[in-house]
């Protein structure tokens, strides 16, 4: 189980399996803790734990750039803003009490999780390793992409999907201006 690195022996895949399961369990357990724990500050810390585990997953998938960006933006910036927002609330230590919607929400999210698992298992993924084995893709080309993903991502972002990229920045700019306007009014 778990993703295996291309061009590695069995010992490496054993190691990858261990790391995969550690990261997977840590991501799911801390995600569960985020919604279950009463202390909002600790919940935020567990959210950071989840995000770090996901960053580890990205490294396992050899997407180092995504992992670095995940840590830099989500752990370093967004989660800090979340903590700031949490500290503005009145009762941080008991801020997440149980409520009457608990059971319906639990059932709904279980169903949604089951659906997600079903979809990801039943999808016919276009995997690289069978494609290499069948000779549709050359292993060297794949290794070339994986050894340095940054130019590939850069070409996609700034050449092929430049319009989407720019629209996203306009959206962010609008959000900044909106925030400024709100402050001015208050």
């Amino acid at each position: 189980m778990g993703p295996t690195m291309i061009g590695q022996g069995t010992e490496a895949s054993l190691l990858v399996d261990i790391v995969f399961w550690v990261l997977a369990v840590s991501a799911i357990v801390s995600a569960f803790a985020v919604v279950q724990i009463r202390d909002l500050f600790r919940a935020a810390l567990f959210l950071i734990m989840t995000l770090l585990s996901i960053a580890g997953m990205f490294i396992l998938l050899r997407a180092e750039f995504l992992a670095a960006v995940q840590v830099l933006i989500y752990v370093g910036a967004i989660s800090v803003l979340i903590i700031f927002a949490i500290l503005m609330t009145g009762d941080v230590e008991e801020g997440s009490p149980s409520h009457s919607m608990r059971i319906p929400v639990a059932i709904l999210s279980t169903l949604f999780g089951a659906l997600a698992i079903f979809v990801s298992v039943s999808t016919d993924w276009n995997l690289l390793e069978p494609a290499i084995a069948a000779g549709q893709v050359s292993a060297d080309a794949v290794e070339g992409v994986y050894s340095n993903t940054i130019p590939v991502i850069a070409k996609l972002l700034i050449r092929d999907f430049v319009l989407v990229f720019e629209i996203a920045s306009v959206l962010l700019l609008a959000a900044v201006i909106g925030a400024l306007a709100l402050i001015r009014e208050g």
Binding site: V69, V71, L72, V75, G76, T149
Partner: protein, 402 residues
């Protein structure tokens, strides 16, 4: 001049091969783990002990700057002072406030130290770093060091102390703000070198980037000393205002860990600046590259120390204004400038010759001086009118009574 040193260093790959040779075949799969632990052991010990020596160095030099002696009692020139400090810290009582959030409080010192140690793994001390060539190099450094922010938040919140919380809040606001100019200051280096890997950045520096882009260097070093929260930017633990800031409630070895993180940061920053702007291990020949690296690192550390000893602490609003109005704009100017110059000077193969680098340096120094003067005139208040002092009506109270 500027020969690339090829002296090998102890890297992960060669360690693993060594253990595979030494161990019997049936244990080969453990070579990976043994190599990893050996490397971690070496890195952690070297860094911690260098930091111990550095605390002595910093206190002696600060003493010299401030016209006093500094620690000079134990050992030659007081060099054994770090050991005395360590014994003192270890024998102190380990106190945790009763209403503290114990998990946050106890974990914070560890989380503060480990990113700083992780950064060491990707710094190229030789032709490559301990971990070999990591192609996200500098992004790894920026990402990992941003975890520090969380540790300071945990320490401040976990202490359940107003001063600790205030220090942490100020500090976190400052750290988050200065991450922006820090990352943007690096972008100039990335455009010039065309790679994020630290070892490639060193190879590209036929002319050290300090000379090619002085503006980028100044932005980076200002932002980095804010990230370390050292004196012009030490809002986190402004002693005169906040007790001791986020570490007010810490004692014993937990304080020792926070102290370790605080004093390791300038060393690691010195290494990063050396790699990015001072051409890392490169130098001229009889002296090996590692010696160049250490020498340059200590030069940067000494310069940081000089700044710390010379400037007074800024106010919170001044610090934030400097990040967003000053450094941010300057970083954008720097990126635009370097991008245009690279587009103009690069040849068909995308390379930039050493001569073009020198021409770029001349242009960039002129523009850097212009930009700095302009920003200083906009942000500073040269024509600030000081109110004329009015004598207090009570000043001559007793004189009149006579």
């Amino acid at each position: 001049m500027h020969e690339i040193q090829t002296a090998g260093i102890l890297d992960f790959g060669s360690l693993e091969r060594f253990f595979q040779r030494v161990l019997p075949d049936s244990l080969d799969r453990f070579a990976f783990f043994i190599a990893a632990f050996t490397l971690a052991f070496i890195v952690i010990n070297v860094m911690v002990q260098t930091t111990a020596v550095y605390t002595w160095f910093e206190r002696r030099v600060l003493g010299r700057f401030q016209g006093r002696l500094g620690p000079n009692r134990w050992g030659p020139f007081g060099m054994l002072q770090p050991i005395a400090d360590l014994i003192k810290l270890m024998t102190k009582e380990d106190m945790v406030p009763k209403i503290a959030d114990r998990w946050s409080f106890n974990l914070a010192p560890i989380i503060l130290v480990f990113p700083t140690l992780l950064v060491v793994a990707v710094i190229p001390f030789g032709p490559d770093s301990f971990l070999g060539r990591l192609n996200i190099g500098i992004l790894f450094v920026l990402g990992v060091t941003s975890v520090n922010t969380i540790a300071i938040f945990m320490a401040g919140w976990g202490s359940a102390n107003k001063y600790a919380m205030l220090g942490a809040m100020r500090g976190v606001a400052m750290l988050v703000s200065y991450e922006v100019p820090m990352a943007l200051g690096v972008v100039g280096v990335l455009i010039l070198s065309g790679s994020l890997a630290m070892s490639d950045i060193v190879i590209q520096q036929n002319v050290p980037f300090l000379i090619v882009q002085p503006l980028g260097f100044l932005i980076f070093i200002a932002a980095a000393s804010a990230e370390m929260s050292r004196t012009p930017f030490d809002q986190i633990e402004a002693e005169s205002e906040l007790g001791s800031g986020y570490n007010t409630e810490y004692s014993s070895m937990k304080f020792g860990m926070l102290f370790l993180g605080e004093f390791m940061a300038p060393l690691v920053t010195g290494m990063i600046v050396t790699t990015l702007f001072l051409s890392g291990t490169r130098g001229f020949d009889p002296i090996p590259g590692q010696v160049w690296f250490v020498g340059k690192t200590f030069a940067v550390v000494f310069a940081l120390l000089w700044v710390r000893a010379t400037w007074p602490r800024l106010r919170v609003d001044q610090i934030m204004a400097f990040a967003w109005k000053g450094l941010f704009g300057m970083a954008l100017v720097n990126i635009f400038l370097i991008a245009v110059e690279v587009a103009v000077f690069q040849d068909d193969a995308g390379k930039i010759s050493t001569n073009s680098l020198w021409i770029m340096s001349a242009i960039n120094w002129a523009i850097a001086i212009g930009v700095i003067v302009a920003v200083a005139n906009i942000l500073g208040q040269p024509n600030l009118e000081r109110p004329t002092p009015v004598p207090s009506p009570l000043a001559n109270m007793y004189a009149e009574a006579d």
